[in-house]
Subunit: 314 residues, 2 copies
C-alpha cells in the first residue's frame, strides 16, 4: 500500500525535522521553503540529531506555492508570524476539501487562521510539538532534544472532538517514523496546557536575557513563573478546561531537570526575527478576557516583549 504523502509548509526546526523522519520512514514528503530551494536541491537535507546524521539527497523542495504537488496531508510548520501567508498558500497547497491540514505551531489561533481560508468544515488538526530543534542553515536541521507530538482535531465551536480517525492515522505515521506521539481528545485543553510552560519560560527568557535554569533557581522568577502559570490555568478554566495544580508542579519538575534551554522565542529575538507574541501571549489574553478571565501578568509580559521587539538594537 502506498504510504501517505506529506507536504510541509516550512522546513525549519519543526518541518525539517518531522518531514525528514517521515521521509526516512518511506513516506513521500515535500517541502515549501521561503528561499534557498536551489541550495536544498543541490546539497540535500542534513539532519543532525543527538550525535547522529542523516542526509536526504534530492529532497523535493519548492519555493513557489503555484508548483506544489497534491499531498495527502498538509502540515503548516512555519512560525505563526508567517500566518499572513496562509490565504495565499493554503488554497494552492490543499488539493481537496478532504485533505487534512495539521497546524504544527505554537500558541493559540492557528487552526482558526487556517479555517478562515479553508472554511469551518475542512479537516483541521493541531499538532503540538515539544522539541528543541532549529535550522542551522538551508537544508541543515539540528535536533537537540525531545520531539513529542500531540495531535488533536479542531472543531469550529472549540468543543472536544474526542480522538478522531484522521488524528489516529497521522499519529500512526509519525509513530512509524520514530516520533513519540499521542492523540488528544481536546485540542483546546492541549493548547492551553502547552501554554502553561510556554508563557512563563519563553517570555521571561527573552525579557530577562537569561535561561530556564536561572529562572527556576531564582526565587523571584520562580514565584513569577508560577503566578503566570496560574493565570494560564484561570484562562483555561474560563474556557471550561481544568488544568490541575499537579500539572504546574510537573512543569517545574521538568524544567528543574532540563539542561538550561533557550526557547525558540529567544532564538527569534536574538536573530532579529519577529517573535510569536501574538500567538503565545496576545491571543490567549484576548480569548480569556472574552470569557471573563483576566491574565494581567501575562499581558504585562506581552507588552514588555512588544517593546523589546520594536527596540531590538538596544
Amino acid at each position: 500500500m502506498r504510504k501517505r504523502s506529506y507536504l510541509f509548509l516550512g522546513a525549519g526546526g519543526v518541518g525539517g525535522y518531522y518531514g525528514a523522519l517521515l521521509h526516512l520512514a518511506g513516506h513521500p514528503v515535500c517541502w515549501l521553503v521561503r528561499s534557498d530551494a536551489q541550495l536544498w536541491r543541490t546539497h540535500g537535507l542534513l539532519l543532525e540529531s543527538r550525535g547522529q546524521r542523516w542526509r536526504i539527497e534530492n529532497p523535493e523542495v519548492y519555493d513557489s506555492p503555484a508548483d506544489l504537488p497534491a499531498a495527502d496531508v498538509v502540515v503548516v510548520a512555519w512560525k505563526t508570524t508567517s500566518n499572513q501567508f496562509l490565504p495565499e498558500v493554503l488554497p494552492r497547497a490543499v488539493p481537496s476539501p478532504n485533505t487534512p491540514v495539521v497546524l504544527m505551531q505554537n500558541g493559540l489561533g492557528s487552526e482558526e487562521d487556517a479555517a478562515c481560508v479553508l472554511g469551518p468544515n475542512h479537516p483541521i488538526l493541531g499538532g503540538l510539538c515539544f522539541l528543541c530543534s532549529h535550522k542551522v542553515g538551508p537544508g541543515h536541521i539540528r535536533h537537540l532534544d525531545y520531539g513529542m507530538v500531540t495531535l488533536a482535531s479542531w472543531s469550529p465551536t472549540g468543543a472536544p472532538t474526542g480522538p478522531t480517525p484522521i488524528a489516529e492515522q497521522i499519529a500512526a505515521d509519525l509513530a512509524s517514523a520514530g516520533v513519540e506521539v499521542s492523540v488528544s481528545p481536546d485540542l483546546v485543553l492541549s493548547r492551553w496546557k502547552k501554554l502553561v510552560w510556554n508563557i512563563p519560560f519563553s517570555g521571561l527568557c527573552v525579557a530577562l536575557r537569561t535561561d530556564t535554569r536561572k529562572l527556576v533557581q531564582d526565587p523571584s522568577t520562580r514565584a513569577l513563573a508560577r503566578d503566570l502559570m496560574r493565570e494560564v490555568q484561570a484562562g483555561a478554566r474560563a474556557l471550561g478546561r481544568c488544568i490541575p495544580d499537579e500539572f504546574l508542579d510537573y512543569m517545574f519538575e521538568l524544567t528543574d531537570r532540563m539542561t538550561p534551554y533557550a526557547p525558540s522565542m529567544q532564538l527569534d529575538f536574538e536573530a532579529g526575527r519577529p517573535m510569536e507574541i501574538e500567538a503565545i501571549y496576545e491571543r490567549p489574553v484576548a480569548l480569556a478576557r472574552k470569557h471573563g478571565a483576566e491574565m494581567p501578568r501575562v499581558d504585562c509580559l506581552a507588552q514588555l516583549l512588544r517593546f523589546m521587539e520594536g527596540h531590538r538594537s538596544r
Copy 2:
C-alpha cells in the same frame, strides 16, 4: 530670631541639594555622610544647578552618628535601601521627643520605619521630592531639574492629619530657601499619587533599559504604563483614597513634555547599587493586598526587577 537648624542623614542628590539650599538661606545645616567626611571638609560642598554653581566651604559634616549635634529638624535623606541603619542612627540623631523627623524618601513605609524606632507619638513627616539631582562625587551635587517638595505629617492610623503647624513651619523654611513646596493634608494620598508615576516609569526604564521618552512613545509600554497606574489607583482606592483619572492623564502629559529621563532607580541599577524595589513596589503590593486589592502587573514588574538585581552582571 535664630533660624531652625537642620540635620540631614545622607548627602546625595536629595540631602545634598536641599541641605545646601537651606544653608545658603542662612539655616544652620549639618550632614551625616556614610564616608568621605574628611574630603567634604577639605573641599567643601559644590552644588551645580542649571548652569550655576555654589560652593559651601567647611560644611558641617559627620561620619559617625555618635558625634552628631542636636538639630531642630532631622531629615532622613538617604535611600530607603539604607533604612536598616535607622535603629542605630535615629536615637543618636534625634535629640528630643519633640524633634520633627522628615522622611525625604521614595515609596511607602519610611515613616513606619522611623516610628518603629521613635515610637508612634513622635512627630514624623513625609517629604516627597520631585527632583532630578544626584551626587557626582564626595561633596559634589548636580541638580538637573525640578525640585518640588510636598510635606505631610504622618499619623499612626494612616488617617489624614490635615496641614499641621510643624509641616507649615518646615515648608516655610524650604520656601525661604527657594524651594517650591506644598503642605498636603493627607500623607497616604500624597505617597500613592507619587507612586502613580514612580511605579511605571522607574521599573520599566530599568527592565527595558530605556528612557521615559521611549516608554511613552511606544504604544505597548504606554498602554502598560497606564495599566500599572490603574493598579496604583486601585491600591489607593483600597486604602480609601481617590486618585482621579485626570491625574493619570496629567502624569502622561508631564512625561510627554519631559526631557528623556533616567529615574534614580535606573542610576542605582547601572551603578550596581541596591534598588528601592521594596519601598516602591513590594510594600505597595503587600499593603494593597492586605486591604483587598491586587496589583498583579506591579507585582510582576517587582519580580523582574528582583531577578535583575540578583543577576546584574548579564
